[in-house]
């Protein structure tokens, strides 16, 4: 007789006596395709543990896609929640002939009674499931992230606002009294930030005396976040601007201050430590040391259950600072003042969590003489040096040569404009790829304003050309869907390449729409947001896409981290996940996410005339 595998959750929660009782009480049942195991509203007699086969859970009141609730395969357990509720809310139907271990309802309930942890496990599952369903059906406008992450509102300090006429000594007293670290000076629009350190420095350098007014002190403009932003984006903003506190705005007015220490208290992560190390690094050796902490940071944040898209945003800010710092070390100052360093591809979109290939380019300001042979040689040498430095930092050279050590990716502003015009008119596969790469560019070092003209020219050449957009969009359809024609995933043993099946179509499709609508932000999540504001996408669908992309990226990251554990390079890790190794919950998410991708592809096909 077949024995059920009880060496796993939730059975491991039972003591050995309870497990023996359970084992003794198990029965075995065989069910044919289409058979209904549990009708909606019926009183369940058993809890089912699938040995083999597949079962779907559906809502008989709805039809088609909306009816679909859950999907269970070998090793999954279902019916427990129904038993706890006394009746089944949905219908369970056999999709592929199934062999199930049956745990009688009475026995199950008595086990729950005897072992609170066991019962708790199912209560928890019920909560999870409800939440997921509510989120999926849009009953809550927010994404799942809302449940996982706190908002800025949660760790707000009241602001200390003083008029400019207040004397320094009184300000210091007020700070002490309020146990605050900073104050805002001025009124209305013209507020400035004064920290304790600012006061101290001003006194030490004798720019003020204790008796002088605060006039002239204060950093402006204020760097801030909205009160409803995620705490995580506050952390990202702090990292980007290298500040330790932000002003919190609510409806245009100041609602308070959020301090780095408070945020770190919530996350207890090493984020800022790494950030500080990067900031303080005076030479390459120190920078390398700081950079080496990034992978551990990612693993730590992931382990804490922080949503990947926020990890991405944070890491891309840290990566950008790391690269920028390396740029200042490796490149002469005159060149820094006359050029703009771009990061491209996934780094440009801020969707690179682990360090992978160098993808970068350089714009030289027009009118500066890098044309002569000697100057050109110096430039090439500087870029080669920079590229070597990045390699030291753990960014391997790009095998496709898309990096500044390749002269093709270093050009003057007008030469870049020429390239864009040429790519836009020739629109062959190669050109479209270059346009896509450049569209994702983000300026990280030097004169960042130089990128604006390039992006403007890119939009001018492409945004109104339906033919070009059509060719551009076609890339998103390049890889097929692992979904079967009408229903779920193919065989369970199958590997799904999440990069091809999920990440690439979403990123490229959203990129095409961003090009069409002249969206300048580069992160796919930000682009989705901008496209919703623009009216190009509806909110619900954009959220679905963001959720799906986040999930795919997470699956991929796990593979990469696993590869690092075994000593391989993350770039070499495949993005394939084996369906049967995912949990039932993840399988559901994967299936849903793939459905979202399929719907997205259909929209792209229609909008960009890809059916021809």
């Amino acid at each position: 007789m077949l024995t059920a595998d009880l060496n796993r959750l939730p059975f491991t929660l039972l003591d050995s006596g309870q497990r023996r009782r359970l084992e003794a009480g198990l029965d075995l049942g065989y069910y044919a395709v289409g058979q209904v195991l549990l009708e909606s509203g019926a009183e369940p007699e058993n809890v089912y543990l699938i040995h083999k086969g597949e079962v779907v859970e559906e809502d008989p009141a709805l039809s088609g896609e909306a009816a679909w609730i859950g999907h269970y395969a070998a090793g999954d357990l279902f019916g427990a929640i129904s038993v706890l509720n006394g009746r089944s809310r949905y219908r369970f139907r056999v999709e592929q002939e199934a062999l199930c271990h049956l745990l009688p309802a009475a026995l199950f309930l008595s086990l729950c009674e005897g072992c609170p942890a066991f019962a708790e496990y199912f209560q928890q599952r019920l909560a999870d499931k409800t939440q997921r369903l509510l989120a999926r059906r849009g009953a809550f406008g927010a994404t799942l992230a809302g449940f996982m992450l706190s908002r800025v509102r949660a760790c707000l300090r009241p602001p200390l606002v003083l008029a400019e006429a207040v004397r320094v000594t009184d300000a210091a007293a007020a700070l002490r009294e309020r146990r605050a670290d900073s104050l805002l000076v001025g009124a209305g629009e013209a507020l400035g930030m004064v920290t304790k350190t600012d006061l101290l420095e001003a006194l030490v350098h004798a720019r003020v005396t204790p008796q002088s007014p605060l006039t002239g002190l204060g950093t402006r403009p204020l760097i801030g976040v909205d009160i409803d932003d995620y705490l995580f984006s506050a952390l990202v903003t702090m990292t980007q601007h290298r500040v330790a506190r932000l002003v919190v705005f609510e409806n245009g007015g100041v609602a308070g201050i959020v301090e780095l220490l408070d945020v770190l208290g919530q996350f207890s992560s090493r984020t800022h430590v790494v950030g500080l190390q990067i900031e303080q690094a005076q030479d390459m050796a120190a920078l390398v040391a700081a950079g080496s902490g990034l992978t551990a940071l990612v693993e730590g944040l992931m382990a804490q259950g922080v949503k990947l898209r926020f990890v991405m945003a944070l890491l891309s800010a840290l990566n950008a600072r790391l690269i920028q710092k390396a740029f200042t070390f490796a490149v002469p100052e005159t060149l820094q003042a006359q050029s703009c360093l771009l990061v491209l591809g996934s780094e440009g979109r801020g969707e690179q969590v682990l360090k992978t290939d160098q993808d970068n380019a350089l714009i030289l300001a027009d009118g500066e003489s890098w044309a002569g042979r000697e100057a050109a040689d110096r430039l090439t040498a500087a870029m080669q040096h920079f590229s070597d430095q990045l390699a030291q930092l753990g960014y391997p050279p790009c095998p496709g040569g898309i990096m500044v050590s390749n002269p093709a990716w270093v050009a003057s502003e007008s030469a870049w404009l020429g390239k864009i015009a040429r790519w836009a008119s020739s629109r062959d596969a190669e050109s479209l790829m270059q346009l896509a790469i450049l569209l994702d560019a983000r300026a990280v070092g030097g004169q960042v304003a130089l990128l604006d003209a390039l992006r403007e020219s890119l939009f001018r050449h492409c945004a109104d050309d339906e033919l070009l957009l059509s060719h551009f969009a076609r890339g998103a359809l390049r890889f097929g869907s692992p979904l079967r024609l009408f229903s779920g995933l193919r065989r369970r043993e199958e590997e799904v390449d999440v990069k091809k099946a999920g990440i690439f179509p979403i990123v490229h499709g959203v990129r095409t729409m961003a090009l069409e609508r002249r969206v300048t932000v580069t992160s796919t999540f930000d682009r989705l947001e901008a496209l919703v504001v623009d009216g190009r996408l509806d909110r619900a669908f954009a959220d679905d896409l963001a959720e799906a992309l986040g999930f795919f990226a997470e699956l991929r990251l796990r593979r990469q981290l696993a590869a690092i554990d075994t000593g391989a390079s993350p770039a070499a890790a495949t993005a394939s996940v084996i369906v049967s190794r995912l949990s039932g919950f993840e399988r559901d998410l994967l299936r849903e996410s793939l459905h979202t991708v399929r719907a997205f592809k259909q929209r792209l096909t229609h909008r960009y005339h890809l059916e021809y």
Binding site: R427, D428, L467
Partner: protein
């Protein structure tokens, strides 16, 4: 193996091939993510274009028309080929540069007017419907014969298959599926042609066999030219000479011009030119496409002539019961009918219709086993009705070719109808959902709603097209000719002037399109539906047949547009600049940026 089984195998096999290619092309394992459709050679693109281009009309009907009408049918050859060249050279390169995908989008933007866009959408729908109805008829005939069902049921089967193929399968967008369709189609057309050519004239190439002398039964050169023999056969039966025309010169000219300009204005073909990314590749592809099209078009006259000779020699004065199986099979499909006027049990052929209208079977069998008719017989000697659209399909059977050739032709007919019908269906659905609904009637429609509208439009379109396929207003090639006439009289002038005449404004374009379309449509409807008995040369205006009236409509369109635009305000500066720009090579613009 019998013909039936082989046909299932060939048609099924060809479908498996298309689906297989579609799946294979989507699971590409290349590491390069961005190179979409990269590496499709111009040769492959040319073949794909040719598959789109050659419809059921080209494959099934053209040779049939040639077999029956002889010299008169040359208008189709000249018009369609000429139209292709016109489109590839004169219009497509400039339309590309305008950067709009659909013809209504181009017209709407070029003439800065939603009214113009609406008129264009209506024209697109009209033209595409007419064309797709022709395709449905063709598909129906193929399925009718090879599944041994009635032609009406064949049309319904075709409707379902085309709908799935175009709307749900997403296979249309894959170049190599189209290439495979071209290969199936061209093999299916040329293999029987080569067989017949060798058997009848000893020439391998049907193109040379057409002008060669016939072999006698023993395989020796009889010294009689194929066309000589054909002329002799048809004149004996009272038809006019095969090699001389019955149409007036002006009518021939008008029909050819209508076909040419109509072809150049056909939305689903224009779109095909946009799917090749680079201008240079597009030119080379167009050249290859012309070559691939020419293979079929130059074989067609020979196929028509071989078929006619064989048909007359096999059928005329033969006892009904002694006729080969194909005759009875096609009779069962409702595409052949015989009424034994003189009661001799033999089938006689003669000029003129054997009875009025299309066959209306009573459901009973006569003394020889023939299906009885309720049609009123005419007083000429002709006893047999043969639908011209079956000539290509029946040709291998008439010529006694091996069973696999017969099956191959069936697969080819399906391929030809499928690619064109699917392309048209997509044009219709996108014109309705995108150009009409999204751009005008309901701009706030969600993307999901637009997608649904596109599918519903495609479904409705296929049903209406199916209706016209079951109740055709003419033979496939003729129905299609009307589509060309409508396209010529509506689109061609506004597209041409939109590119080459910057002074043309929206008032002129709208007036021109309306005049052209309404005039042509009314003329055709009058002679084809309201007063079909008056559809003879002496009633025609200026001696122009309904097939050629599109040219006159086009001239009216031009004149109206020019006159109206003279008396109305010129287009805005920005539009005039664009029109100047699209005729300047794009490279010049790029050089300024350097």
């Amino acid at each position: 193996m019998d013909v039936q089984l082989l046909t299932y195998l060939f048609v099924g096999g060809s479908f498996a091939l298309y689906i297989g290619i579609a799946i294979w092309s989507r699971v590409g394992s290349t590491k390069e993510f961005y190179v979409a459709g990269g590496g499709v050679s111009p040769v492959a693109n040319g073949a794909a274009t040719a598959a789109d281009w050659m419809s059921a009309a080209s494959f099934i009907s053209m040779a049939g028309i040639i077999a029956y009408s002889g010299y008169d049918a040359s208008v189709y050859l000249m018009g369609w080929t000429g139209g292709y060249v016109l489109l590839a050279m004169l219009l497509a390169p400039y339309l590309r540069k305008f950067g709009k995908f659909t013809v209504p989008d181009f017209i709407g933007d070029r003439y800065y007017s939603n009214v113009a866009r609406t008129v264009a959408v209506i024209c697109v729908i009209f033209v595409s419907f007419t064309y797709v109805a022709g395709q449905m008829r063709g598909t129906g005939i193929v399925f009718a014969r090879f599944l041994e069902v009635d032609v009406d049921i064949g049309v319904v089967i075709g409707m379902v298959i085309v709908f799935f193929y175009a709307v749900l399968g997403g296979m249309k967008g894959i170049t190599y599926t189209q290439v495979a369709q071209y290969c199936v189609l061209i093999f299916a057309f040329t293999v029987p042609a080569i067989f017949l050519s060798i058997m009848m004239t000893g020439h391998v190439l049907p193109q040379t066999g057409f002008g060669a002398t016939l072999l006698d039964a023993a395989g020796n050169d009889s010294g009689v030219y194929l066309l000589q023999r054909l002329d002799q056969l048809v004149t004996e039966l009272g038809f006019s000479e095969y090699t001389s025309g019955t149409k007036s010169t002006i009518d021939v000219f008008f029909i050819t011009a209508a076909l040419m300009c109509g072809t150049a204005g056909l939305p689903h073909v224009i779109v095909r030119f946009f799917t090749v990314p680079r201008v240079r590749d597009a030119r080379v592809s167009a050249g290859w496409a012309l070559f691939f099209i020419a293979i079929l078009y130059t074989s067609a006259p020979a196929v028509g002539a071989f078929a006619r000779v064989n048909l007359i020699e096999t059928v005329d004065n033969t006892a009904y019961q002694a006729l080969p199986d194909w005759f009875h099979n096609w009779e069962n499909s409702g595409l052949i009918a015989w009424t034994d006027k003189n009661g001799d049990g033999e089938v006689q052929m003669a000029a003129g219709d054997p009875f009025s209208g299309t066959p209306a079977y009573t459901g009973e069998r006569g003394e020889h086993g023939e299906r009885l008719l309720s049609n009123a017989p005419t007083d000429n000697a002709g006893e047999v009705y043969i639908d011209r659209d079956i000539i290509v399909l029946a040709n291998p059977e008439i010529g006694n070719l091996p069973a696999w050739v017969v099956a191959l032709v069936a697969a080819g007919g399906v391929a030809a109808a499928l690619s064109t019908a699917a392309g048209l269906l997509l044009v219709i659905s996108s014109a309705i959902a995108h150009d009409l609904l999204k751009k005008q009637l309901k701009p706030d429609i969600s993307e999901k709603g637009e997608l649904l509208a596109a599918r519903i439009a495609a479904a409705v379109a296929i049903v209406i097209a199916g209706y016209f396929g079951i109740n055709p207003p003419g033979f496939v090639a003729q129905v299609v000719a009307f589509a060309f006439g409508l396209a010529a009289s509506s689109f061609f002038p506004v597209i041409l002037m939109g590119i080459f005449y910057k002074r043309m404004n929206k008032e002129g374009a709208i007036a021109g399109m309306l005049v052209g379309l309404i005039f042509t449509f009314s003329y055709i409807v009058y002679f084809k539906f309201i007063a079909p008995e008056a559809n003879t040369a002496e009633h025609w205006w200026l001696g122009v047949s309904p097939e050629g009236i599109g040219t006159l409509g086009m001239i009216f369109n031009f004149v109206t547009a020019l006159v109206v635009s003279r008396f109305t305000a010129p287009p805005p500066e920005s539009i005039q600049h664009i029109v100047e720009d699209i005729r300047v090579p794009r490279g010049a613009g790029g050089a300024v940026d350097h």
